[in-house]
């Protein structure tokens, strides 16, 4: 069943993905431009203010998303379609006397000083324009809301199936989701946190695991409304790692701090030597969490996109079978990797929390 599903899934994946890439260069205003692999890949793994679905005859078909800005004059909201698919700072949007341009998926105040050019650069070549605080519902935020909706639907439905069962056995959807929940309980929470406290952290660990996993999987599905590389975005992984860090720090007991600043059982010079290392460890642990998930998921996307791009780099259709074969192969591995990464993130979070509340006996 799973095999057949993944087969269909990969088929859809590649028909749509390839179509997307074929169409993408045409979407740019300059048709003669050389195909830029780097730009294409970066465009795919980064955030965007509109959800690009495909191009038809050189016209981008995209799902407009709301842009929410906190400007000097307060809150400003409008639809991303006002930029008319422009991402090079050429289209100015006028909202109540404030002018905005979009340049490389960032919103700037339009700079009127240079005549028809609205973007000005400083000496190092960076954009010098001022930026409003951008709280837009971007492609990734949209994807995140979608994942939340799916999670709530799936697990509230799961919870409902228990009321139908007589002896608390899972029925219907619960038969699929319960083993996953029990996996987090028995393989993550219990061994990492321990019998005594694990129940307190179960909701967090479950939410964390399924939130990461579903977003990983949604990132792998290459068509609208999925394909956003949310879990491969550093802001996303930063927030999750920060939550783990905050929980670890807040719930930590005396033993935890003692083991960091004054490690028992070793001579004083070693204590002095270890204290700064252990102190840095407090921050390195969540940072490693953040980077691991971000790098793994982004790398997966980059590899698949690169393999597809081989066809365009070599400008030969005959390379397509090899390119497709390897993409399928990597995609299958990615299906595994995204589950493992969600598991590792959850497991390490549980481990850090567990080590913070561990009671030492000495």
């Amino acid at each position: 069943m799973l095999l057949r599903f993944s087969g269909i899934f990969t088929l859809i994946f590649f028909t749509l993905f390839s179509a997307n890439i074929f169409a993408n260069p045409a979407g740019n205003s300059d048709d003669n431009k050389e195909f830029d692999v780097n730009e294409m890949i970066m465009h795919h793994i980064k955030d965007a203010h509109e959800f690009h679905i495909m191009d038809i005859d050189g016209h981008a078909v995209s799902f407009p998303l709301p842009i929410i800005l906190w400007t000097d004059n307060g809150l400003v909201t409008f639809l991303s379609s006002k930029f008319n698919h422009d991402d090079s700072g050429k289209v100015v949007v006028d909202i109540n006397g404030q002018f905005f341009v979009k340049y490389h998926e960032k919103i700037f105040y339009a700079d009127n000083a240079n005549g028809d050019k609205y973007i000005s650069y400083d000496e190092t070549g960076n954009v010098a324009n001022k930026k409003p605080l951008d709280l837009s519902i971007t492609k990734m935020v949209f994807s995140m809301f979608l994942s939340m909706l799916l999670l709530v639907l799936i697990f509230v439905a799961t919870a409902k199936t228990y009321s139908k069962s007589r002896k608390g056995e899972p029925t219907g959807l619960g038969k699929f989701t319960e083993p996953l929940i029990l996996f987090i309980k028995d393989e993550v929470a219990l061994p990492m946190i321990g019998e005594k406290h694990y129940q307190r952290y179960m909701p967090f660990l479950l939410t964390l695991f399924f939130f990461i996993w579903i977003n990983n999987v949604m990132g792998l599905i290459p068509f609208f409304p999925f394909s956003a590389n949310l879990s491969g975005n550093i802001a996303f992984t930063f927030v999750l790692a920060a939550i783990t860090f905050i929980i670890t720090t807040v719930v930590a007991n005396k033993d935890y701090w003692k083991h960091i600043f004054w490690m028992p059982g070793i001579p004083v010079p070693m204590k002095l030597f270890l204290a700064p290392i252990e102190f840095l460890g407090i921050f390195i642990k969540p940072i490693s969490l953040m980077i691991r998930l971000f790098a793994n998921i982004s790398a997966g996307h980059i590899i698949i996109l690169s393999l597809i791009s081989l066809i365009f780099i070599f400008k030969s259709i005959w390379l397509a079978p090899a390119s497709l074969f390897f993409s399928v192969f990597i995609s299958l591995i990615e299906v595994l990797v995204v589950a493992i990464q969600a598991y590792i993130f959850t497991m390490l979070s549980a481990l850090y929390i567990g080590s913070a509340i561990e009671e030492h006996e000495h």
Binding site: M42, I45, K46, D47, H104, L133, D134, L135, S136, I137, T138, M140, V141, M144, F145, M148, L151, V152, F155, V156, T158, A159, Y162, S163, S165, K167, G168, E169, G174, E178, I181, L182, K185, Q199, M202, P203, F204, L206, T207, F210, F211, N233, I234, A235, F236, F238, V239, L240, I243, F294, S298
Partner: protein, 164 residues
């Protein structure tokens, strides 16, 4: 560098989303699901311990039964032994009584015989005396018919009868 610079907007939305998701799922999904799972696990644990208890009880019952059986066996043995003793006692008592009675009977028979015998002897003596008297009477009457003869006879009798 762009790739590794966290975007403020996304940080904001991720925080908000995760918070909302956490509370919704914790309240409407994890609580009932984990509740059901824990309850089920508890009931399984209870059932297992109950089974264990029942097994122990069975074991106890079994050993009790064995004890009772052993006791019963012992009692039977005892009863049988007693019965056997009683039997042999009754038999020996009966034997003794029988011999005693037989002896008594023999004794009384002996005395009766003795009595009869002495009575018979007495009667015999009487009869003999009577007879002798009669004979003597008849003889005397006859003898006395002639004197010489009488004297002769008396002499004869006196001779024959030694006085002692």
């Amino acid at each position: 560098m762009d790739l590794v610079t966290p975007d403020i907007g996304l940080i904001f939305w991720t925080t908000v989303s995760f918070g909302i998701l956490y509370f919704i799922l914790a309240k409407f999904a994890w609580k009932p699901i984990l509740g059901a799972v824990n309850e089920r696990e508890q009931s399984i644990k209870d059932a297992l311990s109950a089974a264990e208890k029942a097994k122990d009880e069975m074991e106890n019952l079994k050993s009790d039964n064995e004890k009772i059986l052993n006791e019963a066996k012992l009692q039977r043995e005892l009863l049988l032994k007693e019965a056997r003793e009683i039997k042999s006692k009754i038999i020996s008592d009966a034997e003794n009584e029988a011999t005693e009675k037989a002896n008594k009977l023999i004794e009384s028979a002996k005395t009766a015989i003795e009595n009869e015998k002495s009575a018979a002897m007495k009667e015999l003596k009487h009869t003999v005396v009577d007879l002798s008297l009669n004979i003597a009477e008849k003889l005397l009457s006859k003898e006395l018919e002639n004197k010489e003869k009488q004297l002769e006879n008396i002499q004869e009798i006196l001779d024959k009868t030694k006085l002692n």
